[in-house]
């Protein structure tokens, strides 16, 4: 194998190319996982055993529709319900300065019964939940982008509010969460007396299906989902927008890596024609040479792929500390799939130049 191996500089360039593709593919998948993880962490939070939604809204994201907030008290009174709180969500404009600031973020505003009602922030990096209508808890990536920190003032739809908490696990990639008291978000959005969802905590021993059926009987104009179903629906919805784009870019990345490897093997075959002819002349089997070429391609892809995977982890670590705007969550299964796909595509692509070995005539060894 050493006899027809690539020159070191060329091989490292190819490994670098494959590593870049691998980094791209694995990081893109990790961004989708990161956004999905946010949804799972929030929607799947403790205490939210049932989600009551407007008709047709089977997930947390991107659906309009409201239900009367007053329904919450009636739900609380039902048998098997230990507690219920409504949340109201609305997109809000948030800036670090009063009106006229050119840089502002459109965030996913969640109004809940602050400070300890259901539907509040799932985790805090620092600070605490809002206690008054003039306080907010803000996602860490949004805080970073706005350049604000604890005790700073932000302007939510033009109204001043103090940042009392910086939340974690609340980054949806394209937007982030901001939490405030429900009354504050209602007032900002003009939907007073309305709720987006009602979250229900079950009494000990109560069965989710039984209580859900009870709610449906009592309030036929709403839908009810148990936590697992609502999490799964929301997760599915997270991917709907991103998946085709990510899959497309991932395929381009894998394709680029495969073409690069094929190009390198092509250069290997063409650049070592005489050596290959000599090897054939002195008795090396053509199949052995083909195997060596395929092994060389595999070696480059594996080294590049693993290097790319390691770089993706490093990049995520650096991003998380320096610029935590992109939520990356790595899954070992995704990495294995990405590497397997890279290897298969790389080997298939290198089969084309390897087939050109058949055109190498051992008699070329006799040419001066």
């Amino acid at each position: 194998m050493k006899a027809v191996r690539n020159r070191r500089a060329r091989a490292w360039l190819a490994v670098g190319g494959v590593a870049t593709s691998s980094l791209l593919v694995i990081s893109l998948v990790a961004t989708l996982r990161g956004a999905a993880r946010t949804v799972v962490d929030y929607v799947g939070q403790d205490g939210a055993d049932l989600w009551i939604t407007p008709p047709g809204a089977d997930h947390f994201l991107r659906l309009s529709g409201v239900i009367p907030a007053a329904l919450t008290d009636s739900v609380r009174a039902l048998s098997g319900v230990a507690g219920a709180d409504f949340i109201f969500r609305a997109f809000v404009a948030v800036s670090a300065r009063p009106r006229g600031d050119r840089f502002r973020l459109t965030l996913y505003g969640v109004g809940y019964r602050a400070p300890d009602g259901l539907g509040g922030p799932p985790a805090f990096e620092s600070g605490q939940p809002p206690h008054t209508r003039r306080e907010v808890a803000l996602d860490r990536a949004a805080a970073r982008r706005l350049g604000v920190t604890l005790r700073d003032t932000v302007f939510v739809n033009g109204r001043a509010a103090r940042v009392v908490g910086v939340t974690a696990g609340t980054n949806l990639l394209t937007t982030q969460f901001i939490f405030a008291d429900a009354a504050a978000i209602e007032a900002l959005s003009g939907f007073a007396g309305r709720a987006s969802f009602i979250l229900v905590r079950l009494a000990p021993g109560a069965h989710a299906d039984t209580v859900a059926a009870r709610i449906r009987d009592r309030f036929p104009d709403v839908d009810v989902f148990d936590r697992a179903t609502f999490v799964a629906n929301s997760q599915r919805e997270t991917g709907v927008g991103y998946t085709p784009i990510l899959a497309f870019v991932d395929l381009l990345g894998i394709g680029a890596a495969a073409v690069l490897v094929a190009l390198l093997i092509h250069a290997l075959v063409e650049g070592h024609r005489t050596e290959l002819a000599v090897l054939l002349a002195i008795g090396t089997a053509p199949g052995t040479l083909a195997r060596v070429m395929i092994l060389e391609a595999t070696r480059l892809i594996v080294v590049g792929g693993v290097l790319g995977a390691a770089l993706a982890r490093l990049l995520a670590w650096v991003l998380d500390r320096v610029f935590p705007v992109i939520p990356l969550h790595f899954d070992i299964g995704d990495t294995v799939w990405a590497l397997a796909l890279l290897i298969v595509c790389g080997i298939l692509a290198s089969a084309i130049p390897v087939a050109r070995l058949g055109r190498v005539d051992p008699l070329e060894a006799f040419r001066p």
């Binding site: 000599v278 008795g283 089997a285 008699l363 060894a365 006799f366």
Partner: protein, 221 residues
């Protein structure tokens, strides 16, 4: 003992209007320990004859016996295996593999010929000793002179103790002294190992080492 016999061999190279009769009813034999010079001008058919003798080209007519086996009766894979075991090559350019040291280049041939790796390494050491080129073992081809490269090429041709060495203009790229040293190394070591040598050449420096000289003209021997 005859290690190579060509009997009435004809071979046409190319096709259509480019077809050329490279060999016409060519017959020759080489015995163990012999150094036979195949002398002819460029285009006379010397390289084609070597390729047919090695089983790399199939003759259109005639028969080729190489170390006791009729090549036309073997499959391509069998011919390749047979060639690996019984033929050693010396090319006009040494054609050593750049990525390997001299020693590794020779070892590769020994390994291809089969046998345990330990024996292959021992055989490599022996042939380096016999050719007095131990000092070249660790060097890569790019660090060798033309004459040194060709002596390593001779070592590669002999390491697996072939019955026949086929050499194509082995001194063609070398100056006077280097050419003589290579010619002497090839002839004496091959004889010492009991191999027959068929050298395609028009270099008179090889004549003192030859057992026989056979002219080839327009593919006819």
């Amino acid at each position: 003992m005859t290690v190579l016999l060509l009997d009435g061999v004809s071979k046409t190279r190319g096709g259509g209007v480019h077809a050329t009769q490279a060999l016409r009813d060519a017959s020759l034999s080489v015995a163990s320990g012999e150094v036979v010079l195949l002398e002819g001008a460029s285009g006379a058919g010397k390289t084609t004859l070597l390729a047919v003798a090695a089983g790399m080209l199939t003759p259109d007519a005639g028969r080729v016996l190489l170390a006791g086996r009729s090549l036309v009766e073997l499959t391509p894979a069998e011919r390749r295996r047979h060639r690996t075991h019984v033929v050693g090559f010396v090319f006009q350019r040494a054609n050593l593999l750049d990525q390997l040291t001299s020693w590794e280049n020779v070892l590769l041939m020994a390994l291809l010929a089969g046998g345990p790796p330990r024996d292959a390494r021992r055989a490599t050491d022996e042939v380096f000793e016999q050719l007095d080129i131990r000092h070249l073992a660790a060097r890569r081809p790019s660090e060798l002179s033309g004459g040194e490269e060709q002596r390593v090429g001779v070592a590669r041709a002999l390491v697996h103790r072939p019955a026949l060495v086929l050499a194509d203009e082995p001194t063609g790229n070398l100056d006077g002294t280097a050419g003589r040293i290579v010619a002497e190394a090839l002839a004496t070591c091959a004889k010492a190992r009991g191999a027959g040598v068929l050298v395609a050449t028009h270099d008179a420096r090889l004549e003192p080492f030859a057992t026989r000289r056979i002219p080839i003209v327009d593919g006819h021997v």
